[in-house]
């Protein structure tokens, strides 16, 4: 267990960039480990600090493979959770990460949340909401970070855009929603954390 963890956090991610399958598998593994990490950077496993900067490698963020980008995004969400309230990356990188998030969750506009990819997108969305990492661009914008305003606008626009009529708690099954809503969220959490 320790060995495996060590392997994950100690892995040179940059070396895997050209290897699509390996990278994908690695990111899945990494996400599986990251969710286990407590929300305290001081208690983070060894190698974690080294790993975090590698995750925002341009070849990962801009990887043509959507699965890889989604897995990476999920991992970044977890990193942000662990680092809260600090920022794991610099302003510029942070904005790039959020641009990735935005691009990924925009997929919900067309993707069903029950599909494999949709589930991942929902996880990213959930992380942004629950960890409230969505506030980062706001803080950055207030701090005068260039382009942070645009990112924030885009985040707003996207979040609204991805809402579909069937997402409404008062949709045609609206009567079930109030009592189902919390349970659904619970289930969702259970699944992705188990």
């Amino acid at each position: 267990m320790v060995k495996e963890a060590k392997t994950v956090f100690d892995t040179n991610v940059t070396s895997l960039v050209g290897k699509k399958t390996e990278l994908a598998n690695y990111l899945k593994s990494l996400y599986g480990e990251l969710v286990k990490v407590e929300q305290d950077v001081d208690t983070a496993p060894k190698g974690f600090a080294t790993l975090v900067p590698q995750l925002i490698n341009a070849k990962i963020l801009e990887n043509p493979d959507k699965e890889i980008r989604l897995s990476a995004g999920m991992c970044m969400c977890e990193v942000l959770r662990i680092y809260v309230p600090d920022s794991p990356w610099g302003n510029e990188d942070m904005l790039r990460v959020f641009m990735l998030f935005i691009a990924l969750i925009r997929g919900l506009e067309t993707q069903n949340v029950t599909s494999p990819m949709g589930e991942k997108m929902l996880l990213i969305l959930k992380s942004l909401a629950e960890v409230q990492s969505c506030r980062v661009p706001v803080i950055m914008a207030e701090s005068g970070v260039p382009r942070a305003d645009d990112v924030m606008d885009e985040l707003f626009r996207t979040v609204i855009q991805i809402i579909r009529p069937d997402h409404s708690p008062e949709g045609k099954h609206g009567s079930y929603c109030p009592r189902c809503c919390s349970r659904a969220l619970q289930c969702s959490n259970t699944r992705w954390t188990s």
Binding site: L122, R135, D149, D153, V159, I160, R164, C180, R191
Partner: protein
């Protein structure tokens, strides 16, 4: 695995969390982010993606505090730019700003507190479009259930309500809509809205008025007390709206309310003690009554609208809403959609009892005469339709029967039926001409006629009547015009307003119940129904007798006391009896009724009650069909008369002497019903003589010796005088009737004009003369003397004596003897009575005169009396004019009939008789009498100066008098023209006739001049000015030919005696024109101050009837001298004069109408005394004469300066060019009779005359002469006929009369 739904909800929740988190972190919201947030709220986006809308809504609610400041700022900025100014916000949002705000009020209600004031500002924008949008939005916001904007923004709401007065109709309309919603959602708001909304009842837009009425009445349907009393009054005031739809909304709405809240709670007539006025409405809420009590009056008043649609609506509402109506209907028409509370009640057994109750209550709620008259008019109209429909059905039945036997075509067969249908159509006109109504005539469906028969009947209950009507409409195919028309006919004709069962209920109530305050109402109602719907009483007239047995006489029994009729109600009830007696089938009942009435008559306490009861008894005695019963009744009456004429009863010491005298006077008066036909007239004469002959001696002895010759009470004397008149007049009338009967001629009401009647002068002749002298003595002394004795009484009593004496004289007018023997002085004296100061006296005299004119054909000289009322109050003058038109129409018809007989008569004597009769019955003959009478009118202006207001007013009054006659004469003509005849009369008077009694009466010619100018207004075609070919005799007792053969010469001389009369008469001409113009433009003058009597004492005029030397005792008869020969001579003489005449001065100088007559600086200083021109001519005081001469000189100078010419041009008669005949009428006249000039050149328009003045002033160059030269050169003749021109080439004066 979460379901799709659940994961979807998760997305929703995460999105909300993300957005809310960002906004919280941001401590506010940038404009860009706000735009992004607001976009999903727009209508299109909301429709497209409601979930996004909900996300945003949730976010905004969650972050309200953070969002609201920026939100209000952005919205405020965008609102400021609604007029097109640029801003930095999202274009999509700014375009959909108002819907967005509406969404925001649902999403973020608390934001409205800030946004509403911003929106309210928009209401003040100049652009109507912006105001409209803001109004619409605000309306939605204020009526929203989401937030109570009204309570939170009271100031803004008040401002918003102010938009009900917006100048833009659309906004006002929307505001009314908003009020609908407001009242619906928040009824408690009515107190705030009502005041503003009521103002819209007077909106200029029909739609808005209708909507407002609907809003208010819809609200009132459930909250009757929610609206103020004043609001109901305001709504009711719209019942006279010029638009039918508005009126309909008001009438229908209020009637339904009345039906639901008042009628439905009335007590049935047979289950209530009518002991107090409100017992019928005992269960009706007081507040409801206060609000709705005037509804019946309002509906009834709407009957005054002329269109059939409104009339039908009124009748429908009366029948189906204002009276109790049980039948449920499903809204086939506007007035019958009462599927409401009233009709939803459990059906009750006898609707007629309830309807009777409603009718009595409705009648008791009417107050003004106008309202009572309205209801009477409705019932009268229903009766007429009923009669016409009955005629139609009867004719059709006859035509069908005839067709079966003859086999004629439809056109031939149904000729009478179609004529009846046309008659019905005249009564109820059809708006749609393509109706094809005649299909009804040949309809084979017998059921249709069975149903129409029911409409003619009187017994159907409301349920039956409505069922029959609906069945009829169905059978005629309800969509067709035919069906609609007969729907209306059925409503008008059918017994839906009152049926005989309802009447029975009313009678039963009167018999069974204790009447007190309702007695009067019920009596009035029955009287009215008896007058206008006597058919309803058919078969139940006996009930009246049953009830009278209880009510009359006032016996001592408790039962009788309980039902006893009060005296005043008995008076009313006699009228009822009068009208329904013919419906009492049982003759024994009539005899019983007579006994009842006689017993009551014995007890009658007032002259009025006695008089009316006597009228009814007399009526019964002559109209009872069964001879035996009639004979019994007459015997009863004769005995009664004998009883009361006994010496011990007919005694001045009897406390009831005035009642007895009044009763006898009525019993001895020939009733109007006697003139229905010859048979009734004969019966009446016989009955009267039967009653009168045995007691005549006693009666006359009592009148002449016991009352008039002794010092008795003035009231007794008055009644004795009236009885005296009644006896003398009835004897004369009976003689006339008898003689006509003997002649076996067709009975005619024109008895007074029948010369073939030979009156036996011996019979009561001395009494007759004595009566006439006595009456005129009273009139001349204004009631100060009677029968040669001074009347020691108060001024009121003297006035009463005067009025009754004049009334008696008027009653005598119907006798031929009076027309034959009246003197000129008496004739003018009677005219005095019509112009007394006391308006009540005038009204009473006119009523008497109208009553006589409506029954009898009187001599034309009496027909000028109504003209004297032309300047009275509108009510009096209208009545007088109606009476005049009626009398003239009848006279003209008589004249036409006589003319027809004349054409066919072969016997010389008959021809001669008919010629005389035709001449005497020509209505145009009234004119000379009127002119003569007016020349002695106290208001007769001085004719010289009419500067003062009183002069001008007098002129206008004079014009109105003359015009009233001309109007009446024209109104009775069809196509023919009477102008040539009238012009000839006028010209004769102008040229060669003078006042027979007072030759110097120049006033007569002044009035004639005025009449000619008024007559000129009526010239339309050349035929109007054709010379009348035959002789036109003038009344010889009033007019005589001038001794010199040319009356104008005398006048010329007299005018020349007055210095400056030339100008003065021109002034007079001007005044005449002004008065005529003023008469045209002026609305009906208010109550005119009637002038002093015609008596010369008051006017200074020499009245022919005065006690002066000139007073003539010459009788007015014969009516017209046959002056045919004289006329011939006159004509030849004129021709000779025309040839021999020299050029004379001409009155061509006219005063410019535009110039103002110089107003006196102080109080009007008259150059001549305010008397007739006749007196002016005689005026000889040097001082005033000089003053007047100076005034004329000054005026002449002014005129000259204005016209640009010299005074000599205008004053020189020699230079005066004859007037040119410019009008086509004149050309035509001249062409048609080359030797004959138009009679009256003033037919030319006034403008031409004025133009001529200027031309003359510049073109004529004759040496200037002084004023006296001018007066010499201009003859009085020219002055008088000033406008009459001369021949252009010969410069000769044309004769006035040229035929």
């Amino acid at each position: 695995m979460p379901s799709l739904l659940l994961t979807g909800v998760a997305v929703f929740k995460y999105a909300v969390d993300i957005l809310s988190g960002c906004i919280e972190e941001n401590k506010g919201l940038s404009e860009g982010l706000l735009d992004i947030l607001l976009l999903p709220l727009l209508p299109a986006a909301k429709t497209e993606n409601s979930a996004a809308y909900k996300v945003v809504a949730t976010v905004l609610r969650a972050c309200a505090d953070a969002v609201q400041p920026m939100l209000c700022k952005v919205i405020g900025e965008m609102l400021c730019c609604t007029d097109g100014a640029e801003h930095s916000h999202n274009l999509e949002i700014s375009e959909e700003l108002y819907p967005l705000i509406y969404e925001l009020h649902r999403v973020l209600p608390q934001s409205m507190r800030d946004i509403l004031p911003l929106l309210t500002q928009q209401l003040k924008m100049e652009e109507a479009d912006i105001r409209t949008k803001a109004t619409l939005l605000l309306g939605k916001l204020y009526t929203s259930k989401v937030v109570d904007c009204v309570s939170e923004n009271p100031k803004e709401f008040k401002e918003f309500l102010g938009r009900l007065n917006d100048q833009y109709a659309l906004i006002r309309k929307e505001m009314v809509d908003v009020c609908v919603s407001l009242l619906k959602e928040q009824p408690n708001m009515v107190s705030v809205i009502e005041e503003h909304l009521v103002k819209r009842l007077r909106d200029s837009e029909e739609d808005i008025r209708i909507k407002t009425v609907t809003v208010l009445l819809s609200f009132a349907a459930d909250n009757l007390r929610g609206l103020q009393i004043d609001t109901y009054e305001q709504i009711a005031s719209r019942a006279v709206d010029k638009k039918f739809e508005v009126r309909k909304a008001v009438l229908v709405g209020l009637s339904k309310l009345y039906s639901r809240h008042v009628v439905a709670h009335l007590s049935p007539l047979d289950k209530v003690r009518l002991s107090d006025a409100d017992s019928l409405a005992l269960h009706v809420d007081r507040d409801v009554l206060k609000r709705l009590q005037d509804v019946p009056a309002m509906v009834i008043k709407s009957w005054g609208f002329p269109d059939t649609v409104t009339k039908h609506l009124v009748v429908q509402l009366l029948q189906e809403q204002l009276l109790y109506c049980l039948k449920k209907r499903n809204g086939a028409n506007g007035a019958s959609t009462d599927s409401e509370a009233a009709s939803e009640e459990e059906e009750k057994p006898d609707s007629s009892a309830l309807r009777a109750s409603a009718l009595v209550y409705l009648y008791s709620s009417l107050q003004s005469k106008e309202e009572f008259d309205g209801l009477t008019a409705i019932l009268s109209f229903k009766r007429r339709v009923n009669e016409d429909l009955a005629d139609f059905l009867s004719n059709r039945a006859t035509d069908v029967g005839r067709g079966r036997t003859s086999g004629a075509s439809d056109d031939d067969q149904f000729g009478n039926t179609k004529a009846s249908l046309q008659k019905l159509l005249q009564l109820i006109p059809l708006t749609d001409k393509k109706a094809g109504l005649e299909r009804i005539v040949s309809n084979k469906d017998k059921a249709i006629y069975r149903l129409l028969d029911a409409a003619v009947g009187t017994s159907d209950t409301i349920e039956e009547a409505l069922a029959h009507r609906d069945d009829l409409v169905k059978r005629l195919d309800s969509k067709t015009v035919l069906a609609e028309y007969f729907h209306i006919v059925y409503d008008f004709s059918g017994p839906l307003l009152c049926n005989s069962t309802m009447l029975e209920h009313i009678f039963d109530a009167m018999i069974a119940l204790d009447l007190k305050d309702y007695q009067s109402t019920l009596c009035d109602l029955l009287t009215m129904l008896a007058q206008v719907q006597p058919k309803l009483f058919h078969g139940i007239g006996g009930k009246l007798v049953d009830w009278l047995e209880l009510a009359v006489p006032l016996s001592q029994s408790e039962k009788s006391k309980k039902h006893g009729l009060r005296a005043r109600n008995m008076e009313k009830f006699t009228v009822t009896i009068l009208h329904i007696s013919k419906h009492i089938d049982d003759s024994s009942k009539l005899v019983a009724l007579t006994k009842q009435l006689l017993s009551h008559l014995k007890e009658a306490s007032t002259p009025s009650a006695g008089s009316k009861l006597a009228e009814v008894l007399l009526h019964l005695s002559i109209t009872t069909p069964a001879e035996t019963s009639r004979s019994n009744i007459q015997d009863l009456m004769t005995r009664f008369v004998k009883d009361i004429c006994k010496r011990d009863t007919l005694n001045v010491k009897n406390s009831r002497i005035t009642t007895l005298l009044s009763t006898l006077a009525s019993l001895f008066t020939v009733p109007s019903s006697a003139y229905l036909n010859m048979e009734v007239g004969r019966i009446c004469a016989k009955s009267l003589m039967q009653s009168l002959t045995p007691v005549r001696g006693n009666v006359m002895q009592f009148i002449l010796h016991d009352v008039l010759a002794k010092d008795t009470e003035i009231e007794t004397k008055i009644h004795a005088m009236m009885l005296f008149t009644a006896v003398v007049a009835s004897e004369e009338e009976c003689k006339q009737i008898q003689e006509m009967d003997d002649l076996k001629d067709r009975f005619s009401p024109t008895a007074a004009l029948q010369p073939r009647l030979s009156i036996n002068p011996a019979m009561g002749s001395a009494e007759y003369d004595g009566l006439v002298n006595m009456l005129f003595e009273v009139i001349e002394t204004n009631g100060a003397k009677l029968n040669g004795q001074d009347v020691d009484a108060s001024s009121d009593e003297q006035n009463e004596l005067f009025t009754q004496a004049a009334t008696c004289v008027i009653l005598l007018m119907k006798t031929k003897k009076f027309a034959d023997t009246i003197e000129v002085s008496q004739w003018t004296e009677l005219a005095n009575a019509f112009v007394v100061d006391n308006q009540e006296t005038r009204r009473r005299l006119l009523s008497a005169l109208t009553a006589v004119l409506s029954i009898h054909s009187v001599h034309p000289r009496f027909l000028c009396y109504p003209c004297l009322f032309a300047n009275d109050t509108s009510e009096i003058s209208d009545q007088a004019q109606s009476a005049l038109v009626f009398a003239i129409r009848r006279l003209r018809r008589t004249h036409d009939e006589i003319e027809t007989k004349l054409l066919t008569a072969e016997d010389t004597d008959a021809r001669s008789r008919y010629e005389t009769m035709a001449s005497n019955t020509m209505p145009e003959k009234i004119l000379p009498y009127l002119l003569y009478l007016l020349s002695y009118h106290p208001n007769f202006p001085s004719s010289v100066k009419t500067e003062t207001e009183s002069d001008k007013k007098a002129m206008r009054q004079l014009v109105k008098c003359v015009r009233s006659l001309f109007d009446a004469l024209q109104a009775t003509l069809r196509k023919e023209s009477n102008l040539p005849f009238l012009f000839k009369q006028i010209n004769q008077i102008c040229q060669s006739y003078v006042d027979r009694i007072d030759e110097s009466n120049i006033g007569l010619h002044f009035v004639t001049r005025l009449a000619s100018k008024i007559l000129q207004e009526q010239i339309r075609t050349s035929d109007n000015v054709q010379a009348f070919p035959g002789p036109v005799p003038l009344p010889s007792e009033l007019y005589k030919r001038s001794k010199a053969g040319d009356a104008q010469k005398a006048l010329e001389r007299t005018v020349e005696m007055v210095t400056g009369a030339v100008d003065a008469l021109e002034e007079t001409d001007l005044a005449i024109r002004q008065a005529i113009q003023a008469g045209k433009s002026r609305a009906r003058a208010p109550a005119a101050t009637m002038a002093a009597p015609l008596s010369p004492v008051a006017t200074g005029k020499a009245s022919p009837g005065s006690s002066s030397k000139k007073r003539s005792k010459k009788s007015l008869s014969p009516l017209f001298e046959d002056e045919g020969d004289e006329e011939e001579e006159d004509y030849k003489d004129k021709k000779r004069r025309k040839i021999a005449s020299k050029p004379r001065s001409s009155p061509t100088v006219k005063v410019d109408r535009s110039k103002k007559v110089a107003e006196p600086a102080e109080a009007p200083t008259r150059a001549l005394p305010r008397r007739s021109a006749k007196v002016a001519v005689k005026y000889a005081e040097a001082e005033e004469s000089d003053r007047e001469a100076e005034q004329w000189n000054e005026e002449a100078g002014r005129q000259h300066r204005r016209s640009g010419g010299s005074s000599r041009d205008r004053l020189s008669g020699e230079r005066a060019r004859p007037q040119q005949v410019t009008s086509s009428a004149r050309r035509s006249t001249t062409a048609s009779s080359p030797d004959v000039s138009p009679v009256l050149s003033p037919i030319r328009p006034q403008e031409e005359e004025e133009e001529e003045v200027d031309i003359f002033a510049e073109s004529l160059a004759v040496p200037r002469r002084n004023r006296s030269d001018a007066s010499e050169s201009r003859s009085a003749f020219d002055v008088l006929v000033g406008d009459i021109g001369k021949d252009d080439s010969t410069n000769k004066v044309r004769p006035i009369v040229t035929y």
